[in-house]
């Protein structure tokens, strides 16, 4: 049996300041198996993969590859050991063409000394794309490709070198069903060739369908590792969550008031005929799969994209924002999905970040009122239980959870009428999550209407009063959030009623 283990991990541990990311992880992957690796956000999957990829180093523990001890200190070590990584984030160079991107970071075939052998490069790229059964022109820059094609290029890159073990981190999120089938076919081919595929995904249906064995992680440890045949969707979910759903969320104490926001069959390129109402103090969850138009819906309400048809009303007045600036002026605020990219200016101080959205209220005639700014900023920081010794520090020095609290402090400083939340706990560790949820409930109790989007269905089930499900930009169901379980929730996401 031991000979079958192509990769074995023994007692692996890793801690970051304040967080035990991995603890006593024991795990083995076998030759010729498709191995599912699942767990909630922050369960330790990414840390584990980063260690194997040589991006971060472990504190303790050993890794054996093919029976001998491996030291993976860099991404070169990892690829030399036969580990290939296909990431969910598409790190493509937009101006390079398809074949250049496929071979980016790998060794280019050479001829006559240092010159790239374009013929060989082209042939190899064609082989890889043929294997994936996709047709993408090789000579055009990646920037001209659709999102799906880009995803296929990123996947193709993982196949440019022949490895022993392929790690795929949410490879299918950007793919259509047809492309996904192609990917699964390729995965099967790899398995038949005796390779190992480690498949990391939040999509439990996919994982249950294609894998041979499943490992479930929670809070940095392996809680379960069994053949897929012995597991069901419910048993997987139970071991993923491992605790009572209610206890992860604070109690609601808001009583819904008047209608704050109303949309009448709003439409643009991504959103089709969505209607909704949100009352003061109410939390509306948006249910749906990745790519169903959830983020696009928030962007439309926040004025990033513009309305083609339909009407929106805010406190019974017409609402037609043309920019985030206009939306914020009307009291509509978005907590964006990409905290580091869209939510914060990491190189500036905590003071500056918290006050950035409300500068007009902290100045007279354009000149900053520093005393008021300091008082209001620190007050907002205290309200979100921000842990920092010095508000003059760069925001980039804070932990993920504290950074997200700074984003919330921006909204708390001047509470909005309508708050839009896109993945409010993304990348936040378990401990800080409860506090984020408490802040959301407190804002609701103060009369803010809230719309929340999340890929974490527990979050929607734990926070929302009612849920609007959308699929491909179209509304499917509006359901009161009572007696909903994960299975029914997912069925609604897929657009079917059970």
């Amino acid at each position: 049996m031991l000979n079958m283990d192509v990769l074995k991990i023994i007692n692996l541990g890793k801690s970051y300041p304040g967080v035990q990311a991995l603890k006593d992880v024991n795990l083995s992957f076998q030759k010729g198996e498709i191995h599912g690796l699942i767990g909630e956000n922050g369960a330790g999957k990414s840390t584990l993969i980063k260690i194997l990829a040589g991006v971060v180093s472990s504190d303790v523990g050993e890794v054996y590859i093919g029976g001998s001890k491996a030291e993976i200190k860099s991404s070169k070590d990892a690829s030399r050991a036969g580990l290939c990584f296909i990431h969910q984030e598409l790190n493509l160079v937009e101006y390079f063409n398809v074949m250049e991107n496929i071979f980016l970071g790998h060794e280019y075939p050479l001829k006559c000394g240092p010159f790239i052998d374009w013929k060989v490069l082209k042939r190899k790229a064609e082989e890889i794309l043929d294997k994936l059964q996709v047709k993408i022109p090789l000579n055009i820059p990646v920037s001209y490709l659709s999102a799906v094609e880009k995803a296929m290029v990123a996947i193709a890159r993982g196949f440019a070198v022949s490895g022993k073990i392929y790690f795929m981190d949410e490879p299918a999120t950007a793919l259509t069903d047809i492309e996904k089938e192609k990917l699964f076919t390729v995965i099967k081919i790899l398995k038949n060739q005796g390779k190992t595929v480690v498949y990391v995904s939040h999509n439990l249906d996919d994982v249950l369908r294609i894998t041979d064995r499943i490992t479930v992680m929670r809070d940095g440890t392996v809680v379960e590792c069994r053949p897929t045949g012995e597991m069901t969707r419910n048993s997987v979910i139970t071991s993923m969550i491992g605790r009572n759903l209610e206890s992860a969320f604070p109690n609601k104490n808001a009583t819904p008031g008047q209608i704050v926001f109303k949309a009448n069959s709003i439409k643009n390129n991504n959103i089709h005929n969505v209607s909704m109402e949100v009352h003061a103090g109410e939390i509306l969850g948006i249910g749906g799969l990745v790519g169903s138009g959830r983020t696009e819906l928030l962007e439309l309400v926040f004025g990033i994209t513009s309305l083609k048809e339909g009407q929106m009303f805010l406190n019974e007045e017409k609402y037609l924002p043309t920019s985030p600036e206009a939306a914020i002026e009307r009291g509509v605020v978005l907590v964006p999905e990409e905290r580091r990219k869209q939510g914060l200016v990491l190189s500036r101080s905590i003071y500056e970040n918290i006050s950035l959205m409300s500068l007009n209220h902290l100045a007279t005639a354009g000149f900053l009122d520093h005393r008021k700014l300091k008082r209001k900023t620190e007050e907002a920081g205290r309200n979100v239980r921000l842990k920092t010794s010095n508000y003059s520090n760069h925001t980039g020095t804070l932990s993920g959870g504290n950074q997200q609290k700074v984003v919330f402090a921006k909204t708390v400083l001047n509470p909005p009428r309508l708050l839009l939340l896109d993945e409010p706990s993304k990348g936040v560790d378990v401990g800080a999550r409860f506090e984020i949820y408490s802040i959301i409930q407190e804002l609701a109790a103060r009369g803010t209407a809230i719309i929340v989007v999340s890929s974490d269905f527990n979050e929607i089930l734990g926070l929302a009063d009612k849920i609007l499900f959308i699929k491909e930009g179209e509304p499917t169901f509006i359901i009161e959030n009572s007696n909903l379980d994960q299975e029914r929730y997912l069925n609604y996401c897929y657009g079917r009623e059970k």
Binding site: G343, V345, L346, S347, L359, A363, G366
Partner: protein
């Protein structure tokens, strides 16, 4: 336990690195003053010479304070030299055509601001990169200056125009007062106003600024307008100082202003354009030029040394940063 130790160690490294990053350039400047004082104790530290230095850098400081505003957002303005030249020529031609001096100056200021706003429109609404956009307008503006002046120097300006660049209030040269006013107003703008906060926010993360309700395009547009305005003041003061207008008189501003801001980015704040830093950068360039002149070193060698100083300053501060990528 080990974690705490590592944390502490990196804190200490951080603080010594931070000291160099914050104060290194200022220490370098003081060292420069000491070196010149030791070499020429009779000439360099005299009140008259130091006044000379300040007077020489006044126009550069005015232009560089405008460029600082643009560089805070992470953009770049190569056109300030050409704007200064064009504004000088236009002021001179207006006065020679019989327009009175104050009105000529006012119109020239409007011209410079307008030229800056053209940059802003091209870059923030047209989507050109700041480098390409201002490189193109620089070429065009200097073409206009050469065309309307016929490529020659304009002499014979009215007597009341001399005061800006050559007059003085008490013992303080008037150009130095204008410099002080320019520096002070930009300092207030950057540090005390909403607009300043927005500039720095955009420089740090333009996308997050947009999501925070900042009209990033408008803010950047205005920054180029401000840069053009100060380039115009610099051009007018320079024309008055030379008491003549040459269609390429302002061209040294292009690189010197950028160099001063870059030098300033190595001082006081980590890698950020800031006004005190710009002032320090301007002074370093002025003192270098003056000191080397006094020592009788020829101007070509001076250029080489200035280049080396800039490389050293930026290198030292980026080494202290220990950036991995």
């Amino acid at each position: 336990m080990t974690n705490a130790k590592i944390q502490k160690k990196s804190d200490r490294e951080f603080s010594s690195g931070k000291f160099i990053r914050t104060w290194g350039t200022l220490l370098g400047f003081i060292l420069l003053l000491l070196i010149f004082t030791v070499i020429r104790p009779d000439v360099f530290p005299s009140g008259r010479n130091l006044k000379n230095v300040v007077e020489q850098v006044a126009t550069l400081a005015i232009v560089a304070s405008g460029v600082t505003v643009v560089m805070v957002t992470g953009d770049f303005d190569l056109s300030v030299g050409a704007i200064a030249s064009l504004v000088g020529i236009v002021t001179a031609m207006l006065m020679k055509a019989g327009v009175n001096t104050p009105l000529s100056i006012l119109l020239a200021l409007l011209l410079g601001t307008g030229a800056g706003l053209i940059n802003g429109v091209l870059i923030s609404y047209g989507g050109l990169s700041a480098f390409v956009g201002t490189l193109a307008t620089m070429t065009a503006f200097s073409g206009i200056a050469l065309l309307i002046s016929g490529g020659t120097t304009i002499f014979g300006l009215p007597e009341n125009f001399r005061f800006l660049g050559q007059g003085s209030l008490g013992i303080i040269p008037f150009s130095v007062l204008i410099m002080a006013a320019a520096l002070f107003s930009v300092y207030i703008l950057l540090e005390q106003t909403i607009y300043g906060r927005r500039l720095y926010a955009i420089g740090g993360n333009s996308e997050a600024s947009y999501f925070s309700g900042i009209n990033t395009k408008k803010v950047r547009l205005l920054a180029f307008g401000i840069s053009g305005f100060f380039a115009a003041i610099g051009g007018i003061v320079l024309t008055s100082r030379l008491y003549s207008a040459h269609p390429q008189a302002g061209s040294p501003f292009m690189l010197n202003a950028a160099a001063a801001v870059f030098l300033g980015m190595t001082a006081f704040r980590e890698g950020e354009a800031n006004l005190l830093g710009t002032l320090l950068g301007v002074l370093i360039m002025g003192v270098m030029g003056n000191g080397l002149n006094i020592m009788g070193i020829n101007t070509y060698v001076q250029s080489i040394l200035t280049g080396i100083i800039i490389i050293l300053a930026v290198l030292i501060s980026s080494l202290a940063k220990k950036k991995k990528v």
